[in-house]
């Protein structure tokens, strides 16, 4: 059974902190994605990676960076957390040539 695991369900951080959100998959999928979800705005793509050490910006990359050192792990980094980064963060994977995406359970991040 496909599994995408995000390191935390809930996280509270202070403004200015460096924040790491981790995502691990066990499906051997090449593609991994980070989305954020806000009420009324739907899911917006932050960054994605199609291979180890490869990354591309999505629609809203400002204030974020990512790291993919191993195929199964994709990390989202908030360099200096701000209150407008309070959101639900969703990691997803997809097989190249496949169709559906598989999501983690989400991380609800609150920046105070």
């Amino acid at each position: 059974d496909v599994k995408v695991t995000q390191s935390s369900r809930y996280l509270v951080k202070r403004t200015g902190e460096k924040v790491f959100l981790e995502c691990v998959q066990d499906m051997d999928h090449e593609n991994m994605f980070w989305y954020r979800q806000d009420p009324g705005l739907g899911l917006r793509l932050i960054y994605f990676s199609y291979d180890v050490k490869m990354k591309e910006k999505g629609d809203i990359p400002e204030g974020y960076s990512v790291s993919r050192e191993k195929k199964e792990r994709f990390s989202l980094i908030l360099e200096s957390a701000s209150t407008n980064q309070t959101s639900m963060y969703l990691c997803a994977t997809r097989l190249t040539g496949g169709t559906e995406a598989f999501f983690g359970q989400g991380t609800r991040l609150t920046v105070v």
Binding site: G42, E100, G104
Partner: protein, 112 residues
Amino acid sequence: SQKIEQNSEALNIQEGKTATLTCNYTNYSPAYLQWYRQDPGRGPVFLLLIRENEKEKRKERLKVTFDTTLKQSLFHITASQPADSATYLCAYLDTGRRALTFGSGTRLQVQP
């Protein structure tokens, strides 16, 4: 650029009735559209996919249609149950980015 739009207003229906949700796209017909279900505080889960050359797809009580003339997909749940209450998202694959682009979702509430 392509946009994908869903009715942001919640849909309230009575148990046993058919729920119909709409997904409209603005420009070119995507090769396929996908529908996902999302429960509160959880990641989306894939339900169905319909290809551009398919008019209709069914899975148990779910039915999806794809009308390239109207630039629209409809998602139906027949004999709806309170357990069907959730937010339903449509998505298309932007092949250039390998990433799925999602609509903002429609919340369905089935009253017993």
